[in-house]
């Protein structure tokens, strides 16, 4: 029954998982019967609300962000309703600022680090779950569900408390274990350290989705493939390479892609921990956009940053979609 499979694959998501194409039935089945004018118009009528909403609430802002990035738009211009075109000035300002390059590089390194860690561990846990005794597996799944269900702001607050300089349980535990230098140790004294804690938080919350989806993928692999491999006398690693890997490769590619999209845009956790500090050292592109646009009210410059962000993400998305649409599963 296909419904079983689709529900499994789309298992609970923390952030929206743009669903895997669950076209197991082999694409849409179309009605062939010819009807009247109403019947011909019906699909368009059904689509109209969604189409209007998307064009209005996504399409228009995308156009608008490009347009705004060519305007000088500070609080004054906004309030007076002035339209001042500045050509590429905003881009020149942004690209000439060495801070932008530092922040971009930091964002990319951070994203790659978090994605590699979370996908790697997610896959590891998915593989592990297959060999666990059932009650251990259920315990692990429940634990992961708890991490996953916790709203981001709640988990961020809890992490702040655990990593608290004077009273945090982590420092207290480390001192108990004999590492006295951790008494009053600040985990947020440098950008690297701050981003590591934020990264840990993100990885911790991202793994459940990844592990559950990959586990669902692994469970779907027919047993006889493994039995055949077993008869051939393949080692564990060979079985993984020959049987498991080909079956979950596209799924893995998809979750890696999704993780990249999500982790690149992280704002809440970074902002709530130290507002991009200390000394701006944990500022990433979304934080920079917020600082320029909302805190300093340079909306034009912020729009230019947004456009550059969208270009980076657009490039990744385009690459992925191209690959996806080439494959059988991506058939729409």
């Amino acid at each position: 029954m296909t419904a079983v499979k689709t529900t499994e694959t789309a298992a609970p998501a923390g952030d929206i998982p743009p669903a895997l194409p669950p076209d197991v039935t082999g694409g849409a089945r179309k009605r062939r019967r010819r009807g009247g004018a109403f019947d011909r118009a019906l699909p368009y009528l059904l689509l109209a609300p969604a189409l209007i909403a998307i064009l209005w609430l996504i399409g228009w802002p995308v156009v608008s962000v490009f347009v705004t990035s060519f305007r000088q738009l500070n609080l004054g211009e906004l309030v007076r309703g002035e339209i001042v075109w500045t050509g590429f000035d905003n881009y020149v300002t942004v690209l000439k600022d060495e801070r932008f390059w530092t922040v971009s590089l930091r964002t990319i390194v951070f994203t790659v680090g978090v994605v590699v860690a979370s996908v790697g561990m997610g896959l590891g846990i998915a593989l592990l779950m297959r060999v666990l005794t059932p009650w251990v597996r259920i315990a692990l799944q429940i634990a992961m569900l708890c991490a996953w269900a916790m709203p981001i702001l709640a988990s961020t607050t809890v992490y702040q408390w655990m990593f608290d300089q004077n009273y945090g349980i982590l420092n207290k535990t480390l001192v108990q274990l004999g590492f006295d230098s951790f008494a009053g140790y600040s985990w947020f004294s440098s950008g690297t350290s701050t981003l590591s804690v934020v990264g840990l938080l993100i990885v911790w919350q991202a793994i459940p989705f990844l592990a559950f989806s990959l586990y669902a993928g692994l469970v779907g692999i027919p047993r006889d493939l493994y039995e055949a491999a077993g008869i051939d006398g393949a080692t564990g690693w060979q079985t993984f390479r020959a049987v498991t890997w080909p079956e979950i490769r596209s799924l893995l590619m998809m979750v890696t892609f999704l993780s990249t999209l999500w982790d690149f845009k992280v704002f809440a956790q970074i902002w709530v921990f130290r507002e991009g500090g200390p000394s701006g050292e944990s500022t990433t592109l979304p934080v920079l956009q917020y600082l320029e646009g909302i805190a300093k009210s340079h909306f034009g410059v912020a729009a230019a940053i947004s456009v550059l962000m969208m270009l980076i993400l657009g490039l990744i998305t385009f690459q992925y979609l191209r690959k996806l649409l080439q494959t059988e599963e991506g058939k729409i």
Binding site: I16, A19, V62, A154, W161, I169
Partner: protein, 272 residues
């Protein structure tokens, strides 16, 4: 055998890793006032109280932001689901000119980096005079979740054999009747799953809630909680209690999905 127990130990260690923050949140929330902030080693609580929950519940802003979060999230998700179903049915059950490009549009739209649209969204809401009104958040969350809902539901509709609908129509049900009597019930589990994911996304959202809403009585929970240090001072117990209360609705929804999904699948199997 040795290998198996090593694996089980790793599994249990990982379970602890994932569970610990939840454990710590709950125990910190239940420690009596004055014993939360202490240099003593207190991994296991000695005494238990619920007074922190009372503190958090009665903090100015908690109840109103909880209400706002529920209102905004539920409205947006219901709208996204209803419009998502119609689009999903159109994409899945009809052949028409432009179907392919529309499906592609949905796919691309659900990958749109919303965070990068902060500035134009802010300007747009300002021009619509929706800025500072909860309806602006509803619109944003609706827009964030709609493409995802439509896309996912399309997958679920595809999973329901079209022959069932055709049979119903042969039996004299209209197109609407067939949808109502056959497709919708079978779609149940999918609907629940989809709406929970959409709910979680909107429930978590922070950036737009922070920028589009400025008065305290319209704040949503994430924004309210992000200012917990101004609300709670150094009262970590109270802050943890508020976090627990914030987590509960999300956790409940997760559990509902678990149960309903099993029930829905078995029901589908009997009818199918």
């Amino acid at each position: 055998m040795l290998k198996k127990s090593a694996a089980n130990l790793t599994g249990l260690a990982l379970a602890l890793f994932f569970l610990f923050p939840t454990y710590w949140m709950i125990t910190s929330a239940m420690k009596p006032k004055g014993t939360t902030i202490t240099s003593d080693y207190d991994l296991i609580p000695f005494s238990v109280t619920f007074s922190n929950f009372v503190t958090a519940w009665t903090k100015p802003g908690f109840l109103s932001s909880l209400g706002n979060s529920l209102l905004v999230t539920l409205t947006a998700v219901v709208a996204a689901i209803i419009i998502g179903i119609t689009a999903a049915v159109a994409m899945s059950r009809f052949a028409f000119r432009g179907r392919k490009s529309f499906v592609l549009l949905m796919l691309v739209a659900q990958m749109a980096p919303f965070e990068a649209l902060l500035i134009p969204m802010f300007l747009m809401m300002r021009d619509l005079q929706l800025y500072e009104h909860l309806s602006s958040l509803i619109l944003v969350y609706f827009a964030v979740t709609l493409p995802f809902c439509a896309w996912t539901l399309r997958g679920f509709v595809n999973g329901i054999p079209v022959e069932l609908e055709e049979a119903a129509m042969v039996d004299g049900c209209g197109r609407w009747g067939a949808f109502q009597k056959v497709t919708l019930p079978l779609l149940g589990p999918g609907l629940v799953a989809t709406s929970v994911f959409a709910f979680i996304t909107a429930w978590n959202e922070f950036l737009f809630a922070k920028v589009l809403i400025r008065s305290q009585d319209r704040e949503t929970l994430p924004v309210w909680l992000s200012g917990f240090q101004t609300a709670f001072g150094t009262d970590w117990g109270g802050a943890m209690a508020a976090s627990v209360l914030f987590t509960v609705p999300a956790l409940v929804f997760f559990l509902i999905v678990q149960r309903k999904m099993v029930a829905g699948v078995t029901a589908g199997a009997v009818k199918g």
